[in-house]
């Protein structure tokens, strides 16, 4: 019996170690250095963008660093130019994995600004 358990454990360990291939494989787009460190962004990005959206919309404070548009700017996939679309896309992939529905993109654009109007005057 012990031998059987040990054998089972031996076979099972590698499956646990790499997350069973279940964790999302994300296309992070352009990527690069984010405005906060990875752990903070993973845990707190909803609070950060929610806080800034109120300041921007209601108080008119522009140019804050926690901007949804900037998330999209860096993380839109180079394949379809969006943060949505499939399990590989940055926002959709992780949110599907976590079974959380983001409703940001019912109103906000999931694609970066077109290059022409993107340049600030």
């Amino acid at each position: 019996m012990k031998a059987l358990l040990l054998t089972l454990l031996l076979f099972a360990t590698p499956v646990w170690a790499d997350g069973g291939g279940l964790s999302p494989k994300l296309d992070i787009g352009r990527g690069g250095k984010c405005v906060e460190d990875e752990a903070t962004m993973r845990r707190l990005h909803p609070e950060l963008i929610r806080h800034q959206r109120d300041e921007t919309l209601r108080l008119g404070i522009r140019g804050g660093k926690h901007s949804l548009a900037e998330c999209v700017e860096c993380h839109a996939s180079k394949k379809n130019g969006s943060v949505l679309g499939s399990r590989e896309n940055f926002c959709q992939g992780c949110h599907e994995y976590a079974a959380v529905k983001p409703d940001c993109f019912e109103c906000h654009s999931s694609k970066p600004r077109p290059a022409v109007t993107g340049a600030a005057k």
Binding site: R53, D54, E55, L57, R58, L59, G60, I61, R62, G63, G64, A69, V72, E106, C107, H108, S109, K111, P112, R113, A120, K121
Partner: protein, 239 residues
């Protein structure tokens, strides 16, 4: 002894220096610095000269649709942020054309009636809808005497990055707040100027030096339905 070439070079350099700070000053004076909130000292407004507005021109409407990603459709369920209106005085036969949109009232009834405080007035007088809070009840649409607001009935796709819009919320002219905050003019004003009509003048009504403040001081202008005492920021000349 300075050669002719040296003299020209020096003059060009001087001109460059003089021009660069001028450009900088213009930008800084108009665009609010990063991290600063909208100022209560500013009151954005427009003066619309109906004498310059041509009945067969709708460049302001087209520009608004393009800038804000509106479909431009004319169904009763399509959003329209600015529309052209024609008036006729039956006694004299005088016809007047004018654009009508959110009048950005100082005492906005849409803000009074909103049950979730989604409809609000920014410190600089721009009346907006916070779509994060809007529940789509449309009280504000009923309260607005200018019929300025629209309700988004259908799901939308490919919205503009600077102009988020979504199904189930009320929307209206934002005075192109995303452009104004960058120091630009609203899209309709730019289009009207470009078309050569120059019927819309945009600026800070509170700044005595601004072109609009000087003009409203010197020419006769009215607020539409001034009897309601909502104190709109949009004024009309020649009505």
């Amino acid at each position: 002894m300075t050669t002719r070439r040296q003299f020209l070079n020096q003059t060009a350099a001087l001109a460059g220096i003089a021009l660069a700070p001028g450009v900088m000053l213009y930008d800084l004076a108009h665009a609010r610095p990063t991290g600063e909130s909208a100022s209560g000292k500013v009151r954005w407004g427009m003066l619309i000269d109906t004498n310059q507005c041509s009945a067969d021109c709708d460049d302001c409407v087209t520009a608004c649709n393009t800038e804000n990603g509106l479909s431009g459709g004319k169904k009763s369920t399509d959003s329209q942020w600015i529309r052209k209106i024609e008036l006729k005085d039956l006694r004299t036969g005088r016809q007047t054309a004018l654009p009508m949109m959110c009048q950005h009232c100082a005492e906005p009834p849409c803000v009074d009636v909103c049950p979730t405080q989604a409809s609000f007035k920014r410190a600089d007088g721009i009346v907006l809808v916070d779509k994060h809070r809007c529940i789509g009840c449309r009280y504000c649409m009923m309260a607005c005497p200018y019929k300025a607001r629209s309700f988004v009935h259908e799901p939308l796709h490919d919205q503009k990055t600077d102009v988020p819009r979504g199904q189930g919320t009320v929307e209206a002219c934002t005075l192109c707040v995303h452009r104004v905050d960058r120091g630009l003019q609203p899209a309709c004003v730019e289009a009207c100027t470009k078309a050569g009509h120059q019927a819309i003048l945009f600026g800070d009504l509170n700044d005595p030096q601004s072109e609009i403040a000087q003009k409203v001081r010197s020419v006769a202008s009215v607020q539409v339905r001034a009897d309601l005492r909502l104190d709109p920021g949009i004024r009309y000349q020649g009505l």
